[in-house]
Symmetry: C2
Subunit: 352 residues, 2 copies
DNA sequence: GCAAAAATGATATACGTCTATCAAAAATGA
DNA sequence: TCATTTTTGATAGACGTATATCATTTTTGC
């Protein structure tokens, strides 16, 4: 019942171990005939290389890097923390992960950080990216060196990365739109939207998806133009307070960050409040959900994404195919299906 | 930069390799003083056992078994298929998984199957279980033999398993209730519920959760007593058709299976239909969502659960702690956040 | 202080792969 | 045919751990 080794394959193929090895690790200088014989034996015996033994022999250590935005944003805190946790549990598989912080949304600094990666010999890099063409050159260099590159949470230029691990933001916006539409129960209404900046691609995409659904399927619900907040909680608070005085407002949707401000404003209000949808489950959005200050959180489950980043990077580095993993989709949280996530609970409610 | 080996630890502790080994693998016959010295050296050097080398040396193969209900139920088909996929991708880590099918909901046969496992030397077993005390004895025997046992999708008696990998069905019902409530947009209404059988613990729990939320938070929405369907699509179809003729019905909720019948009945109807919520995303519920025949699917993501079962079983077998994994929660699907899941698409819409 | 028991050290083999080396055999070219 | 190149075979050491054996040292109980 013990699985066949490369020696077994060699014997079955009628060649020496050395030749079988040459084929398996395509070292060249092998006759086509021998290659064929070995390949046949491999499939006949169902040989699978013992990765443990291989890595042991190679003394391989997977060096990974995660480039994430700096700053005290609750969402990115959550991300960095989870990377640390996950990394700690990967040491036993000889995987090391280093978190490198970069100023948020600063193309130039990100560019520099990517170039700096060239000096360190990482095997794989996950980058919370920006879709700026300026990143293409340094990323191409990195990949030319054989480094596996994936976009995480926020995508990179498509050609510059091997994979994107994150949700489809149009779908996220559509989902929010669907929920807001449903919550009107066939009645009319007005939704006030908020966004950090429409230069941020994900914000624009979410808003577009949101509009799409409401326009098409819930025409009786009007979508007001977004208020720009720079993801600043102060701004959100002030704007929300003002907006709440309006008549006929039935829903609020913030595609960006700064939710602590929005929540603070809602906490102040009395009477029936509009239906509220925000993004990303962090300590304060969770609390607000429990306290019935908001109704819905659309989350991208960054922890799942990070776990996946580890898996995908390893697969890319070893050039093997990916294990079956379900698609990443925007997750809808209400107060009844919240994860008992220790991490989220521990996090202090900092600015978002 | 290379990580310390056990020899390094031994040297640092001032003991022989053999003694260090005795401590690490607690083989006994070691003086407390030596144990302490080795432990110190371990933390001082940050020694982590190289699992690859260890497993290589042991020639360890993890033999896992999955006990799942037999039959052509779409949900369980999906489960079995995913187990196969996942297993194929685990061979390179020397993990084998065997699917053993058992008649659905038959305590006695399940009991026999568990006893039969005793003869085969599995390292770990995941069981789609039943909460019957009759299972306690055979499970206890199994665990006494050192086999790791987890409940999957549907729990086992608590004392009889090391972990339960599945969602909280009360939470699932609450989530459905919340969504139905929200969809009424403050207006009143009547929800017709359907269940396979209230003997099935998960059905009862979902229904209870559903009622809880509507009673507490949406008192203007009345919950009608469940129609029993035996999870039979034929029954569901007939009952749904009848129910649809009633005046004032604003929502339908099926906690169990047999959705293809419910969907068929809805397809026939015209005009405004009630708000419809069902469980488990399979080919036909997905199609119905896309075709706007239903509004919401609450899914437990069995594929995620299965991946987790592999991870948890391995951790249990090796007696190491679990990697950080986000909680399993009931997932809400609308037509806008569906996964592009090849598996689901491929599945033929069979009976559920 | 002596015998018995407990603890330790030294060491060898095995796991399956990678990598390298050197000699031998086969194929190729002129 | 002979020299050259290509292909093959044989083999050995290394990776870090598990496991076993046997001899030696230390501790324990009386």
């Amino acid at each position: 019942m013990t699985s066949p080794t490369l020696s077994d394959v060699a014997r079955a193929a009628g060649v020496s171990y050395a030749t079988a090895d040459r084929v398996i690790n395509n070292r060249g200088n092998v006759a086509d005939k021998s290659i064929a014989k070995v390949r046949e034996a491999v499939t006949a015996l169902g040989y699978v290389r013992n990765v443990a033994a291989a890595n042991l022999s190679r003394g391989r250590i997977y060096k990974l890097a995660f480039l994430t935005p700096r700053g005290s944003n609750a969402f990115f805190n959550r991300i960095r923390q989870h990377i640390g946790h996950a990394a700690a549990h990967h040491v036993s598989e000889r995987v090391t992960a280093e978190v490198i912080e970069v100023a948020a949304f600063a193309v130039e600094e990100l560019q520099d950080s990517i170039s700096a990666l060239l000096e360190r010999d990482f095997d794989g890099v996950a980058i919370v990216g920006l879709q700026s063409a300026a990143l293409e050159a340094p990323l191409a260099e990195l990949r030319a060196k054989g480094v596996a590159v994936v976009g995480l949470v926020s995508d990179l230029p498509h050609a510059a990365r091997a994979a994107y691990i994150g949700i489809d933001n149009i779908a996220a916006g559509r989902t929010a739109g669907r929920m807001v539409g449903l919550a009107h129960g066939g009645q009319g209404g007005q939704v006030q939207t908020f966004a950090g900046s429409l230069d941020a691609r994900d914000h624009a995409e979410r808003l577009a998806g949101f509009r799409e659904v409401l326009t098409a399927d819930f025409p009786q619900v009007a979508v007001l133009d977004p208020i720009m907040t720079k993801d600043d909680a102060q701004v959100l608070r002030a704007q929300t307070q003002e907006v709440l005085t309006q008549q006929g407002l039935t829903a609020l949707y913030n595609v960006g960050a700064g939710n602590s401000g929005l929540i603070a404003a809602l906490r102040g209000g009395q009477g029936k409040r509009p239906f509220c949808v925000v993004h990303e489950l962090v300590a304060h959005s969770r609390q607000a959900l429990m306290a019935r200050q908001i109704d819905l959180v659309i989350d991208q489950r960054p922890d799942v994404e990070i776990n996946r980043a580890f898996t995908v990077l390893r697969a890319l580095i070893d050039a093997k195919d990916l294990p079956p993993m379900p698609d990443l989709v925007p997750t809808i949280y209400v107060r009844d299906n919240l994860p008992a996530d220790a991490l989220t609970d521990q996090m202090k409610a900092q600015d978002t």
